[in-house]
């Protein structure tokens, strides 16, 4: 009798250990983030009770009303905002340090032969690679796309004379946006982040040239 109980206990212990191992293995594989469709499923599983809520939540929104209007704002500001005055010098320094960039490149790409191999991306290439990467989620990609569109609209306005600004001033939101992209990618997709760093000036040369910009 006791022997049987011991056997059962042993089996249970083994099962628990397997379970823990498999769980750990599952967690280790989290970064690649393969399952976008299942996100919806998971949350669907949670949400059935809350599905009817949306209509209730909407009426409550005196607070929400603000942000809805605010939402477009942050995007414009993100590109051209209050940070602008303080950041002008920063932008200049960011623009000036372009000679500084080669130094980190050397550190990162240890073999000198690696540089010529990686051709700089153009804007379309960058957008395509960002679409394809699994390193960032769908909402993040869409938000970035919105912000890229906002930036391009600013350039369009500048070239059409609708917006009074200068290329130097447009460089700042460009750098900020690139920094955001890099911060999202540097841990989860380092090769793409590196490629973007290397393409920084190539992309800027397209944006800052009215003829090349028209071809976009």
């Amino acid at each position: 009798m006791i022997h049987r109980a011991e056997q059962q206990l042993g089996r249970l212990t083994r099962a628990a250990v397997y379970f823990a191992l498999v769980l750990a293995a599952g967690c280790a594989g989290m970064d690649p983030a393969p399952q976008e469709p299942s996100k919806a499923e998971v949350t669907q599983g949670r949400a059935p009770a809350s599905a009817p809520q949306p209509p209730e939540v909407k009426p409550e929104k005196p607070v929400a009303a603000k942000p809805v209007q605010v939402a477009p704002k942050p995007e414009a500001p993100i590109v051209a905002k209050p940070e602008a005055p303080a950041a002008k010098p920063a932008a200049k320094t960011a623009a000036a340090p372009t000679p500084k960039e080669p130094a980190p490149k050397k550190e990162v790409g240890t073999p000198p032969a690696h540089k010529p191999a990686a051709a700089p991306l153009d804007l379309a290439g960058l957008v395509k690679k960002l679409k394809e990467t699994d390193a960032i989620g769908v909402f993040t990609k869409l938000t970035l796309k919105n912000q890229v569109d906002t930036l391009l609209e600013q350039f369009r306005g500048y070239y059409q004379g609708r917006v009074k600004t200068s290329l130097d001033q447009l460089r700042q939101p460009y750098d900020q946006l690139l920094m955001k992209v890099l911060s999202l990618l540097q841990d989860s997709d380092p090769p793409l982040a590196r490629e973007i760093v290397q393409s920084r000036e190539a992309i800027w040369s397209i944006l800052s040239d009215p003829e090349k910009f028209d071809d976009l």
Binding site: L23, C27, K39, V42, A47, A64, A65, G137, L142, L144
Partner: protein
């Protein structure tokens, strides 16, 4: 032998059931965190989320802020404080 195999299969199946959704939920939380940060709103980290409908979530942040993150009819991602 058969019982051992059964318990292994059970453990693997259980792990798949438990860890699959949590991975997806974690990815969603990361996505919402990044989105809210990109929009320049204070949040910290999204600790939980609730799906309202397609492309429409309530995100609860580590700093207790709550945002509704959704795609508006113009195709823009918007986060509104709740």
């Amino acid at each position: 032998m058969g019982k051992r195999l059964n318990s292994r299969v059970l453990a693997v199946g259980l792990a798949a059931i438990v860890s699959g959704p949590s991975l997806a939920a974690d990815e969603l939380s990361k996505d919402l965190s990044s989105t809210i940060a990109l929009l320049g709103l204070p949040c910290g980290k999204v600790v939980s989320s609730q799906r309202m409908k397609d492309n429409d979530y309530i995100a609860i942040c580590s700093d207790k802020n709550r945002y509704r993150v959704f795609v508006n009819p113009e195709g823009r991602v918007v986060a509104t404080k709740q």
